[in-house]
């Protein structure tokens, strides 16, 4: 990085020390504050820092952080990787990630959906990886149809190679804006945001999953070369090779993330067999899917921020005898509007022991009552464990599904488990 202009180098160093300061003073993991200082000094820094690297930008509503981590893990095959693995996914976070690892040729950056067009222009990445788009924090996020349109337009102006989920119509339509694409059949459980054609608004024909087409304008699902088969836990590579995934992260959503990661790593020249081996090494991503053991009970933490995420989490719950705690807040990072709770179908929780927690637990309570799901109200995880243990001293497991700040509060209460 010695060819960086002095001012950029200085900014980069400044950013780095601010990040260390932030970590040392316990104000956060340092990824945002570092970049914020750096940006003030050199606005073009992101472009300069990106130059000469092979970057992959990862964007989606759900699974960005995990997929970024998966791809970075695969690319470590070649040595150091510059990446924002703690989810600081705006330009300031990208600057921090790149300046912290100035010598890495390969980089994997998680990008906030709104910032993708801008970061795409600034970094000219080798790959843009797109997984899914669905309703999320609508009090402050952009409308997703508008977002897809901006992605599509931005991709049309670069020669970046897109790696995208063909099963999500909105994502596919955005990706079709790019000149080069690799299509992955990664599945789509949540379909409530894609009944209509992104091109003309017609009602999509979706008779046989994962195929979709618009009877009005003819837009249809692109041909895929990669696929994931959830039933058999298998990744199918372009040459037809079938690879058992056996991931240590749960659920179909993570199989989808892994398939996308393998397709991306293949773009960098890594054989999928090797990628899958490396992906199995990951057991937790920034505290997600972590289990902590407290009072002799294994408590598994699932972060889910929106209806599509909750649906995925319900699908990975342990068998019905395992109780589940649902925790919802409505602070700014969560979105102030809890309306989305009504988009989720909770009937799958009937017959399970359910607890509601968090600042908006009354919203959850009414929602569960309406779906005929019995529940109890609680303040804290250890209080729930106390109640459960009093009834059954042999209880071994509890699942927790929480949205963003509720999840962070629980993590903090247990010492920020990784």
């Amino acid at each position: 990085m010695s060819d960086l202009p002095l001012r950029a180098q200085l900014a980069s160093v400044l950013g780095r020390s601010a990040a260390s300061l932030s970590r040392a003073t316990g104000r956060g993991d340092g990824s945002v504050i570092g970049g914020r200082v750096a940006l003030k000094v050199e606005p073009d820094l992101l472009t300069k820092l990106a130059k000469g690297r092979r970057l992959a930008l990862i964007s989606a509503t759900n699974g960005k952080t995990t997929t970024t981590r998966l791809i970075a893990q695969a690319l470590r095959e070649f040595g150091d990787v510059a990446t924002n693995e703690y989810g600081a996914n705006m330009p300031t976070g990208h600057i921090t990630a790149l300046s912290q690892n100035a010598s890495a040729v390969n980089g994997v950056l998680e990008v906030d959906e709104k910032y993708l067009p801008q970061v795409l222009v600034a970094t000219q990445p080798a790959f843009v990886v797109l997984m899914n788009l669905s309703r999320d924090q609508m009090d402050r996020a952009s409308e997703i149809n508008l977002l897809a349109k901006k992605w599509r337009t931005a991709l049309g102006k670069t020669n970046t190679h897109v790696i995208a989920n063909a099963d999500d119509p909105l994502v596919a339509w955005a990706g079709l804006g790019a000149a080069n694409a690799t299509w992955v059949s990664a599945g789509q459980r949540w379909k409530e945001d894609s009944w209509c054609c992104p091109e003309c608004g017609g009602h999509l024909k979706r008779d046989t999953d994962p195929y979709w087409e618009c009877p009005e304008c003819g837009l249809s699902r692109p041909e895929t070369t990669w696929a994931v088969d959830n039933e058999s836990d298998t990744l199918i590579a372009p040459d037809g090779q079938r690879l058992k995934l056996r991931l240590n992260l749960p659920g179909d959503a993570n199989r989808a993330n892994a398939a996308i990661a393998a397709a991306t790593a293949a773009g960098y020249g890594i054989h999928p067999e090797r990628t899958v081996e490396r992906l199995r090494e990951i057991t937790s991503v920034a505290g997600r899917y972590t289990s902590l053991v407290t009072m002799g009970v294994e408590v598994r933490l699932l972060l889910s921020k929106n209806p599509a995420g909750w649906l995925e989490s319900f699908a990975v719950l342990d068998p019905p005898r395992v109780p589940v705690i649902l925790a919802v807040n409505a602070q700014i990072p969560d979105g102030k509007d809890t309306s989305w709770l009504w988009d989720v179908d909770y009937t799958v929780l009937r017959g399970r022991r359910v607890f509601v927690m968090g600042e908006r637990r009354t919203d959850l309570a009414l929602r569960l009552e309406t779906d005929g799901v019995a529940f109890e109200v609680a303040d804290r995880v250890d209080e729930v464990l106390g109640r459960l243990k009093a009834e059954d001293p042999d209880i071994t497991k509890v699942d927790v599904i929480a949205n963003y700040t509720a999840f962070q509060q629980i993590r903090t209460a247990y010492g920020r488990v990784q």
Binding site: C196, D343, A365
Partner: protein, 237 residues
């Protein structure tokens, strides 16, 4: 209720286009509060590629992004079923984008006026600012509903014509125009309280049921009433 049937028919219009903020909640709460009174219900989901049936009791329209809103309005106008149902005396509850399109006209994403379904005497356009946040309003005393609370997230501003009346007076939030929120005309009611407006306001849900079936037996207060009180307190704090 309609004709010979003793079943309350709830028709959810275009969940594929207008269902962005938990609009399903209104369907579920109407159904639940009817069933608590022993009234059998039937829910019909009508997607944008299907005709709107004319024999429903309560028609629900949800919120949506700009383009789905325009599509929904075009298709509903062409279909004509909703307007015919209203002419037969059906009840309509529409929120947000749905509220705007049942009016005489509404603005597209650049404020060009587009024709609505014309079952509520309102005209909507776009304001300078986006109204986002908790809203509190006092409902027209003639309706016997009291204070309502909800979440608004829209850029619309709505003027109410002589055939309709404001649903409520704004206490907090923007609503139609800073002063009033929502509108009604006969049994057609619209509001900017988006998504689960009825779960958050059990009395408003009961008003719609009363319009169709007459006086309702009281039900024991539960989580809906509690949520209503909690959100009012939080919004006015």
């Amino acid at each position: 209720m309609t004709d010979t049937s003793s079943t309350l028919r709830i028709v959810w219009i275009y969940p594929d286009l207008l269902s962005t903020y938990g609009d399903q909640g209104n369907v579920l709460i109407l159904k639940r509060r009817a069933e608590l009174r022993g009234i059998p219900t039937e829910v019909l989901q009508v997607t944008s590629s299907s005709p709107v049936p004319e024999h429903g009791d309560i028609y629900l329209l949800g919120g949506g992004e700009d383009r789905p809103q325009i599509l929904a309005a075009e298709r509903l106008r062409k279909d004509g079923g909703l307007a015919r149902a209203v002419a037969r005396g059906a009840c309509v509850f529409a929120v947000c984008a749905g509220y705007q399109i049942i009016g005489e006209s509404y603005g597209d994403d650049e404020s060009n006026p587009l024709p609505g379904i014309g079952i509520l005497d309102i005209r909507s356009g776009r304001g300078q600012t986006r109204a986002v946040g908790e809203i509190v309003a006092d409902v027209d005393p003639a309706l016997g509903v009291g204070r309502i609370t909800g979440f608004e997230n829209h850029q619309g501003r709505t003027a109410i014509g002589p055939s309709a009346r404001p649903l409520s007076t704004t206490v907090r939030g923007i609503g139609n125009d800073d002063r009033t929120e929502g509108a009604y005309q006969g049994q057609v009611l619209g509001t900017y309280l988006h998504g689960p407006a009825l779960p958050r306001n059990p009395e408003l849900a009961d008003l719609l049921l009363r319009w169709r079936v007459g006086a309702l037996p009281a039900v024991a207060p539960s989580w809906g009433e509690r949520l209503h009180e909690e959100r009012l307190a939080a919004a006015l704090r």
